[in-house]
Symmetry: C2
Subunit: 582 residues, 2 copies
């Protein structure tokens, strides 16, 4: 059998070491390098406004957004397993950073920056620790409804928060209520020129994102070209915005602009802070790590699966951890793998992780050469970039879908969404996690027990209420559709006793174990007691179709020795053996 399993995923480090070899074997060539480099150029240009905007979202000086896109991207490429994932500042983690730090210091202040650097470093340590301890599975506890509700709710907060940049009103960020209150209180501060520019940018960016491709294709462009042009449209709009403001000197009329940014590369700094601060920030660092990792791994898995590759979640944790340490070292804030960055990376034609390295270098060059040209860039443009990017994260179709599929999951969504919106990001998320665990346990504790019989002409046994089946008067077969555990053992016992009680002529009780995946100690205790009760009533207790791992465990219990009946391999064999004797 040919082995189709992919080779162990290349890490960036292995790749750089191997590139020379690949080059010599002509597996990597000038053509591929040109492809990676041109992709890096496009991505660099696109990421500049996004990076600046996310720094503003996190409450930090704009240039830190660029700092967070250089070393972290390179650091991730060294350890991470996904060749495509682009690491840098991301909307959700920036919002989480703001939410964690704004109660502790004034956004924009030096003290705030110090805290952000410490938070990025702590987040890096958390991720590395999770990676070493192989605790990547923790991210699984963010269920789909919880993540969807959290991201939607955070997106709503971010989008509404952009009203500050778009309108010139000094809106308070934080929970929804504080935001809306301060917005309405200060409605008279609305700066009409900024607002007009802002709305215009939002419309143009939204148009270039959702309408431009179709329009270009209908004008005769090829899909690929149209897509590339539409991707580059924000860069064109950025240049236009700068030119507009500079030529009309709109900044003198009160339109906020980016102004002079430091043109140097990040100076490397060590995180600074005492143990008290570290202890204060650790919960936030853990939440940022967990959310950042959950987002990042989902993206990495999706892109990897398309290429039939697999992602190692513990290696991913290390990669992201190193990226966050690098971000702290660069004097920036927490980063993670971003969906839009990664999509841009792939669309632009990146082939190997080398593209990621080149993007990092591109960012460094941009910082030195291009940033000076952004003096006249209106803040409203950055707000519009975030507004449009984040708007699409709001997943409004999820709730009605969940409502149809499962009420428990739908309520989890609602609780998380409202909790994040009205109480706070962290508490809302915790509420969601607790609720999803509760919903799952509630499901587990109401087990389904079916009386089954043979589907005529087969060796297959199904629920007698759903199918026309054959049963034997003296043999009762119950299929237990749940692992036996403490939360349902007593309930299962009651259900079994009730079914047996209803049938006085039963001599053999078969428990069909095809749905029993585990039996914990409380479950075994229950079965032992059931066996004894059945014995007192003169009924033999049997099992059928118990799974290997379950049977392995039961060897260590007293149950198999005490049992009055047998363990049968298949339900059909059990019926054949018993129907002759019964």
């Amino acid at each position: 059998m040919k082995d189709r399993q992919p080779a162990p995923p290349l890490t960036g480090l292995a790749l750089y070491q191997g590139l020379w070899g690949l080059w010599r074997r002509k597996a990597y060539s000038w053509a591929l390098l040109r492809q990676d480099a041109s992709a890096a150029l496009i991505v660099t240009l696109l990421l500049i406004p996004q990076s600046l905007a996310y720094a503003a979202l996190a409450g930090l000086p704009l240039q830190t957004g660029l700092y967070a896109s250089i070393l972290p991207a390179i650091a991730y490429a060294l350890l991470g397993t996904s060749g495509m994932l682009a690491v840098g500042p991301v909307a959700i983690t920036s919002l989480l950073t703001f939410s964690a730090l704004s109660p502790l210091a004034q956004p924009g202040s030096d003290e705030y920056l110090t805290l952000a650097i410490l938070l990025a470093s702590l987040s890096g340590v958390c991720l590395l620790a999770m990676g070493f301890l192989r605790m990547g599975f923790l991210a699984h506890f963010l269920s789909h409804p919880v993540m969807s509700a959290f991201v939607s709710s955070a997106a709503l907060i971010i989008v509404l928060g952009q009203l500050k940049g778009l309108s010139g009103i000094a809106v308070e960020s934080g929970t929804l209520v504080a935001l809306l209150c301060s917005l309405f209180r200060q409605l008279d501060q609305l700066h009409w020129l900024t607002f007009g520019l802002g709305v215009g940018f939002v419309l143009l960016l939204a148009l270039s994102r959702w309408g431009l491709v179709r329009a270009l294709v209908s004008l005769g462009f090829k899909t690929h070209q149209a897509s590339l042009i539409s991707k580059m449209a924000p860069v064109v709009l950025l240049v236009l915005a700068c030119v507009l403001v500079a030529t009309l000197r709109l900044d003198q009329q009160g339109v906020a602009i980016v102004g002079a940014l430091p043109l140097n590369l990040p100076r490397l700094v060590l995180p600074d802070g005492d143990w008290g601060l570290v202890l204060t920030l650790i919960p936030a660092a853990m939440i940022i790590s967990l959310i950042g990792f959950a987002e990042s791994i989902a993206i990495a898995r999706t892109f990897a699966a398309r290429r039939r590759q697999q992602v190692n979640s513990n290696r991913e944790l290390m990669g992201l951890g190193l990226a966050n340490l690098a971000s702290g070292l660069s004097g920036a804030f927490p980063v993670t793998g971003g969906l839009s960055r990664t999509a841009i990376n792939q669309d632009a034609g990146a082939v190997t992780p080398l593209a990621g390295l080149l993007t990092g270098l591109g960012m460094a060059l941009a910082l030195v050469w291009i940033t000076g040209w952004l003096y006249y860039l209106p803040i409203a443009f950055l707000a519009a970039v975030v507004f449009v990017a984040v708007m699409s994260l709001f997943d409004w179709r999820q709730l009605p879908y969940l409502w149809r599929y499962s009420r428990g999951d739908a309520w989890t969504w609602v609780v998380t969404f409202l909790g994040v919106l009205f109480i706070g990001l962290e508490i809302g998320l915790m509420l969601g996690i607790v609720m999803s665990l509760g919903v799952w346990l509630a499901k587990n504790s109401r087990p389904h027990v079916a009386v089954v019989g043979r589907v005529p002409g087969t060796e297959h046994f199904r629920n007698f209420q759903r199918y026309q089946v054959e049963t034997h008067p003296n043999i009762l077969t119950l299929r237990i559709d749940e692992s036996l555990m403490f939360a349902n053992a007593q309930e299962v016992e009651q259900r079994i006793l009730a079914e047996v009680g209803r049938r006085p002529e039963v001599q053999h009780l078969i428990l069909m174990g095809s749905g029993i995946n585990h039996i914990d100690a409380s479950g075994v205790e229950m079965l032992e007691q059931l066996n004894q009760l059945m014995q007192e009533q003169g009924i033999c207790l049997h099992f059928s179709e118990l799974k290997g791992p379950v049977l392995d465990r039961l060897q260590y219990s007293r149950l198999l020795d005490q049992m009055t009946g047998e363990v049968h391999l298949t339900q059909h064999q059990a019926m054949q053996a018993l129907s002759t004797s019964a």
Copy 2:
């Protein structure tokens, strides 16, 4: 088919109403009444020392133990469903009462008594509320290892706490460490006469409990007689102890005695306390309610199952709630159904709940007539009664058994045991509950996925690593031994992709759903993504043996519409349909 299901369980109230009818139909007779009454007499005599001792354990005046045995027993009989359960003061709830109240007031003081009355009333309200809200299932979350460890640990604390009464040393109760420290610090206070008496009582009581029956039987008594004599031995010992102390005037030599108890019936009191106190006591009341209910329902179920009766847990909650309100009203402390009381009740030959009512009346009479005779009863005797009764609660065989059966359950036991012993009753219990949830989720998040094939000559499909089975080269069947949920969805997907990746010639992937009991929203999301990935690789995704309830839910998802393959009733039919085409 004759209906063997028991009639709806008689409550005491219905029984009293029906007794006259039964009497007229000669279903209840003088003979049965005589049996109930003689049982009540025996039980009353046996419960007197126990009730006094548990009041001492709870840190309350001794007579409150008798108060707690009168009205609560009658109140429970009115609403509870179990005819046999004897409700009154119990070791574990008494210890929990002491642990909750001793940090708030001086045990034995009036203030302490007020708190105990309030606690009993609050516990009654909690139980009634749980009953009305049908939240009896909450007790299921006390897993078997947690309850076993909690009871063992509490038993150890109680037994060591009795050293106070047995030795005359003023031992501090509370956690194990405080207890042992104060014991060793004050070892010089040991009162040798008390200690001698105490050890003697313990030995005699232990002997009458574990050796007497056998000895009597070997002397020619019938088992039933021997058992009754051995049951009555504590009463005889009690009389002897009183006579001994009274005749030798040992109380003048420093042996602590019960002294004068008030000879009147309980005066009814209303609970007293402000909202602050209520809020302080509510957590303790909830824990006492939960533990008391879990203990009580387990006993009621065991005794009911022996008689083929069922117990309604919400009705039980109401019965216990009313009993605790009655206990508060009588000026006493929290009560619940006790194992030893119930066993005595049955052994003594009680037939109907009328025995419980008569026991309550007997206690009232004892309070007025007998208690005066207990003036010279040494405290060391009461301590010995508790010592011997509680010693047997320590379940030392549980841990090695759990260790063999399941490491996770064993660690839960250890954490609960040590937590209760060294941190505190409530925190230890909470640690245990959280740990048992964690262990269960950890199991759920490491799913077992088996490649299955047909067992030759049958229509049964099993794991190819455990059985000699037949497979088809182009069809891969995976049996997923776990419900699909947020904690394992990604893991399952990775396992499926890895198995598919290993077999390049696969055209059809069948997921055999016999072990899938639920699919939550995260699980459906994963299956949709899997279906898409398989489609991109030209592989058809099928299901077989999906259970009815799971399929019902999937109708509301997008999966069934998007699926490239079919849902087959049985795995055998799936193979037949596909092996012709593949």
